[in-house]
Symmetry: none
Subunit: 246 residues, 2 copies
Amino acid sequence: MAMDTDLMEDEAEFKTVPSASLGTILVIEDDPRMQKVLRRSFASEHYTVAVAGDGQTGLELFRTERPVAVILDLILPGISGRDLCQTFKNLSSGTPVIVLSAISEVVDKVLLLELGADDYVTKPYSPRELMARVQAAIRRQRKPADSTFFRFGNCEIDFKSMTARTDGIPVVLTAHEFKLLKFFTENVDRVLTRELLLNEVWGYNAYPTTRTVDNQILKLRQKLEPDPANPKHLLTIYGAGYKFVL
Amino acid sequence: MAMDTDLMEDEAEFKTVPSASLGTILVIEDDPRMQKVLRRSFASEHYTVAVAGDGQTGLELFRTERPVAVILDLILPGISGRDLCQTFKNLSSGTPVIVLSAISEVVDKVLLLELGADDYVTKPYSPRELMARVQAAIRRQRKPADSTFFRFGNCEIDFKSMTARTDGIPVVLTAHEFKLLKFFTENVDRVLTRELLLNEVWGYNAYPTTRTVDNQILKLRQKLEPDPANPKHLLTIYGAGYKFVL
DNA sequence: CTTCAATTGTCATCCGATTGTCATTTCTTA
DNA sequence: TAAGAAATGACAATCGGATGACAATTGAAG
């Protein structure tokens, strides 16, 4: 409510385009206030946002904008949300659809997912949760041809050439360090136990001591963190493991 | 003691592990040729595959691998497929079971489903059809979206990143606190004795004089309850234990 | 043989889980 | 209703384990 006070009204435009976009999110929702909230929320996460107030517009934007994900309110003027959902899925683009619905509408969650929805969030929902689910859905669907480039803080990583830079200065990383770092970039914000890291990064046949993980983390910190003693990206979660944040 | 993220990785020979797995499919089938076909089929769809040639092995792998779905041949050496199916369902994990059977075996389809099977495919079957049915079953069963999120009152919890928020404000929880909280969210409205909590969350039997549980509850209340003195979610059940309500 | 990376080993530090104590609440029984 | 007993809340202090840091050793590649 207090959120939209300083929002600029760009009524003519239905898109919000940040400088470097992670793709377009199509929001199909008829409540103007929700539109604003969602637009902001995703724009701040570097997504381009396309908003449709009704089903017909939604369908058009779906074709023209090629969104990476769709957020769909079930209650809509015009075409019903249910029909839309199935239509999107029949277009077989693989684009994930996240449904917004009041709890009362969801008589059967299973039914909802059978429509082809990839996920759903019940109202009232937390923007943060919605964001997390959308990003999870996108990641789930994303094809192997991933970007080989990654940036966080003042670090740039190019996995293809196995090079990294901090503040533009080249840093030499070893094979293991790269593999570990890559795994972290693929699991941002997620707490990863040492056991998991050993399995995923080192492989099944390796049974190194858990000290190994610590040391590799240490190395990465020394090479990438401005202040290795106070890491800002490769965080220790005491009693659990490590977490990579941007 | 460390948090038990119990991943068994030793059965490399039974498993086919793609780079990014959508989860494990447990195949219980004694025909080696079918094993190969199924393994390939699901591996190419980015599932991890665990194969068991008999019922006993199947049961073990079910416990250790935590599959997202089970494909079960009814005709098996050792434990019968029917018994296995019921066993899986009694383990109450909700894991979908898809049964393979020759037409002649299926006297009554209803009977089959009464065993707890979620779906069935009659031989000879098309791998494509089987794949479709398995994926449908998985999607149907999928928890409120990987249940990494939980919301109650004005608290949001994200288990995968081990973070929580009250009224949108981040709250730092320790590993133990998280484990305890998670257990509560998995047992809403149920009275949990200290003894049970110690067994399930701590993992050992402790002496009745231990005030450890109380203190952890206290911490959780202080961090999550708006008014820790008058808890609305983490309730004390005098003389019994604690109960978590929404 | 040389070199660099990966693993293991060791010790110091730090975090938080546990314990102990005492106040407060709740239940029981007179 | 009142009083005593039991259970729980609250807080502080301690203790143990987890992690950071670095050195030593092993292993692999050229």
